[in-house]
């Protein structure tokens, strides 16, 4: 039931693969890190940068919630508030959520999970990191110089006429997009070309499938975002009026362009999270996923059908009724794929051999919140209901259930799940379980009231609001601060364990997936010897010894 059970099986994997080399963490000095081509080191560098962005975006959120404590001014004026929610959106979406799981855990784990020594284009990978840093610097620079108050959606014609410093911000987003495309190309090429002998398509771990599906979106949707925000930037600087009705333009067209990226972007954020969950559930239930195909193909389904649903953000924007209807039904298809995944996860628990560790507790939170978010997603995709809910707190709550309840919870789950592999230590299980519970409670407290606020008619992006909404806002603010502190505590637990945690074995969770075949932390070239696989990643019917024997034939 609890963690100590693992102590007894400590040394077997290590004996099977004796660590003959230093780990990837050792040596090289500062330049060895900054100039590295090692996907694991690049992943760790992304970890640092992305966490910093998370803290930044999170503190914006806490300030916003503080302001909403009272119906009128609490700590800031309307202009500051409008800037702050814009920054919160921009930082969280582009600088935290999009790169978070793919660039940290995807980078670190994906090559190992396909049995490769590195990604296909290691230099491109490093370039992706520095391009990301440069883009973030430009965005943050633009924010420091005065920022922008358009909201992260940059709707025209407001964004074309607002007197703020828009160009550096959108240009920075464009640059960050380039980094995303680099990463996506790298992942797709690696999955196609670098799988080790024996890892055929249906033997890939499910996390690889979801990162692969994510990369398709990264490569094919991001350029459209780059284009549309640059066009807005150009309009802002040169007043071309591309989307400005004063010169015959159509503001709704910008929304088409914007959501063609930004709806699939939601799947960029949630698909990797689903991949993490698809790894955690079989590992802790110690059994094969109830249906491998269902999870793998629904990931591809989400990625591709996700491209066809962008119009459901525009039901009341003045889109034609026929187009609305088409987008409405296409949106329902995506929900089906997510439902398939959810059922499969739950079915995997059935008659398993379940050990209850922090990642599984996070999975629990994820399951509830993601389903709630997903089902309210179906609700807001129902057109007549969306008319009432559109641009209210209901929508805010819905996408935070997916983005925070889904992606951030899965991010924390992944941080705990792969922690032993990345750093060779175990975190404190007790604090971990406590934090997972606190994160869940804080989250529900923050966002459940927001559904009710939305029902009551509270529009989003409101600095001041009718006083009858106040007590729900107070609840949400309290929850937000609880959520903030519990996330900090969870991260603190991981940081403290870097130094004080017990040493981890190669396979502390008794998993069968490929990344647990290497020592913890892995050597620079991932595998002590080139693996040749004669088994799948979820073969729990094999014993530990067989598992090793079927990956390293002698």
């Amino acid at each position: 039931m609890s963690a100590p059970a693992y102590r007894e099986q400590s040394s077997i994997p290590l004996e099977a693969v004796p660590p003959t080399e230093p780990s990837y963490l050792d040596g090289g000095g500062l330049m060895g890190w900054l100039n590295t081509r090692d996907h694991k080191r690049i992943g760790i560098m992304f970890y640092g940068a992305v966490l910093a962005m998370f803290v930044l975006g999170g503190s914006f959120a806490l300030l916003l919630r503080l302001e909403l404590l009272t119906p009128d001014r609490t700590i800031m004026d309307a202009n500051t508030y409008n800037r702050l929610f814009t920054w919160h959106g921009i930082v969280m979406v582009w600088l935290f959520l999009i790169p978070s799981i793919p660039n940290i855990f995807g980078n670190f784990v994906l090559p190992i999970q396909i049995g490769a020594r590195d990604l296909a284009f290691p230099r491109l990978n490093l370039a992706s990191f520095y391009v990301y840093l440069a883009g973030s610097a430009i965005v943050l620079g633009g924010l420091v110089l005065g920022g922008t108050d358009t909201g992260w959606t940059f709707y025209t014609p407001y964004s074309e006429t607002t007197p703020d410093r828009l160009f550096p911000v959108v240009f920075g987003i464009f640059v960050v997009g380039v980094s995303s495309i680099f990463t996506g190309i790298n992942f797709i090429a690696s999955v196609h070309m670098l799988r080790a002998k024996g890892v055929h398509w249906r033997r890939m771990p499910l996390f690889v499938w979801s990162i692969y599906a994510t990369s398709i979106i990264l490569v094919l949707a991001t350029p459209v975002l780059g284009l549309s925000v640059l066009l807005v930037g150009l309009d802002h600087v040169f007043h071309l009026g591309l989307f400005n009705p004063a010169s015959g333009g159509d503001p709704v067209l910008f929304q088409h362009l914007f959501w063609f990226y930004s709806h699939p972007a939601v799947y960029i954020m949630i698909l990797p999270a689903m991949g993490v969950i698809s790894e955690i559930v079989p590992t802790f239930a110690h059994r094969r996923p109830a249906s491998y195909n269902a999870i793998a193909f629904s990931a591809l389904g989400i990625a591709l059908v996700g491209f066809l649903t962008w119009g459901h953000h525009m039901f009341v924007a003045g889109m034609s009724t026929i187009d609305s209807g088409i987008f409405g039904i296409l949106s329902m298809f995506v929900a089906i794929f997510s439902a398939i995944k959810t059922f499969t996860w739950v079915a995997t628990l059935y008659r398993g051999d379940i050990s209850f560790n922090t990642p599984l507790l996070y999975f629990f939170g994820f399951l509830f919140l993601f389903m709630f978010g997903g089902m309210t997603g179906v609700a807001v995709a129902t057109q007549s209901l969306d008319v009432h809910w559109h641009d209210t707190y209901f929508v805010v709550a819905h996408f935070h259930f997916i983005m925070v309840g889904g992606s951030v919870t899965a991010f924390l789950a992944a941080a705990h799940y792969w922690y032993p592999k990345m750093f060779g230590r175990l975190y404190s299980e007790r604090v971990g379980l406590l934090c997972a519970t606190a994160v869940f409670i804080g989250f529900v407290l923050t966002f459940l009231p927001q559904f009710l606020l939305g029902n009551a008619g509270m529009p989003r992006r409101y600095y001041s609001y009718p006083p009858e909404y106040q007590w729900l806002h107070v609840l949400a603010t309290g929850g937000a601060w609880l959520l903030g502190f519990s996330v900090l505590l969870a991260v603190g637990n991981l940081i403290v364990s870097l130094r004080y945690g017990r040493r981890a074995t190669a396979n502390p969770w008794d998993s069968r997936s490929y990344e647990w075949l290497t020592p913890s932390p892995p050597p620079p070239h991932n595998f002590p010897e080139t693996p040749v696989f004669d088994r799948g990643p979820y073969d729990y019917e094999l014993s530990q010894e067989e598992v090793y024997a079927r990956a390293y034939p002698r």
Binding site: P223, S228, D250
Partner: protein, 209 residues
């Protein structure tokens, strides 16, 4: 002649070459979606201003655009021949063919510059600067604004492509490519072809129909 470096993650040079080309195709797919946004705008505005757009197309400088089509098609041909030659190991021929393609690219830009000059003189400028007498409508304004943005983006890509071609040609005599292993050479040509393909769609919608 230095031997090509095999990355530790690859089983063979062939595998590495295929992967590099595959990466390039992925990048091209990404670029295609970038241009698609501009085509979307064209399609949408054309459906809003049908008559204005037809009128504006006929007012456009068709001779320049058509000349440029032939220039780009020819450069595509020469750069394809360059690949043919490097596969045979005829390095010098390959280099000269690449340089010829780059020269054709410069020709394209020169014609484009002259054409832009015509537009500027006629007042067919984007957005608020538009005062073109032959298509003095809001739709005409839309058409030429999109025209400038689209061909401008394309011209930027052509400029980048010329840079890549020159860089590639510079490396040919330095023994970077061999008959057996030249994925980066092929990637440079792929990029150039892509620029050509985009023009194949820009040309009819902005100059012909």
């Amino acid at each position: 002649m230095p031997a090509p470096i095999l990355g530790e993650q690859y089983a063979s040079l062939d595998r590495q070459a295929v992967t590099l080309r595959f990466g390039m195709w992925l990048f091209l797919a990404s670029e295609l979606l970038l241009f698609s946004g501009l085509f979307v705008l064209y399609a949408a505005y054309r459906s809003m201003y049908r008559h204005d757009f037809v009128e504006a197309v006929h007012s456009n400088t068709m001779a320049y655009g058509t000349a440029n089509t032939y220039v780009l098609l020819t450069s595509s041909f020469t750069v394809a021949l360059a690949v043919f030659n490097i596969r045979r190991g005829a390095l010098r021929a390959a280099m000269w063919l690449v340089l010829a393609s780059a020269a054709l690219g410069v020709t394209f830009l020169a014609i484009k510059a002259v054409e832009y000059g015509v537009h500027i003189r006629e007042g067919a400028l984007p957005g608020p600067y538009y005062h073109f007498a032959d298509a003095a409508t809001l739709g005409g304004n839309r058409f030429y604004t999109l025209y400038w943005v689209t061909t401008g983006a394309h011209a930027l890509h052509v400029t980048g492509g010329i840079g890549v071609l020159l860089w590639t040609a510079w490396h040919v005599p330095r023994g970077r490519y061999t008959a057996g292993y030249h994925p980066r050479f092929e990637n440079a040509t792929l990029y150039w072809h892509f620029v050509d393909v985009m023009w194949l769609f820009i040309w009819p919608i902005y100059y012909l129909v």
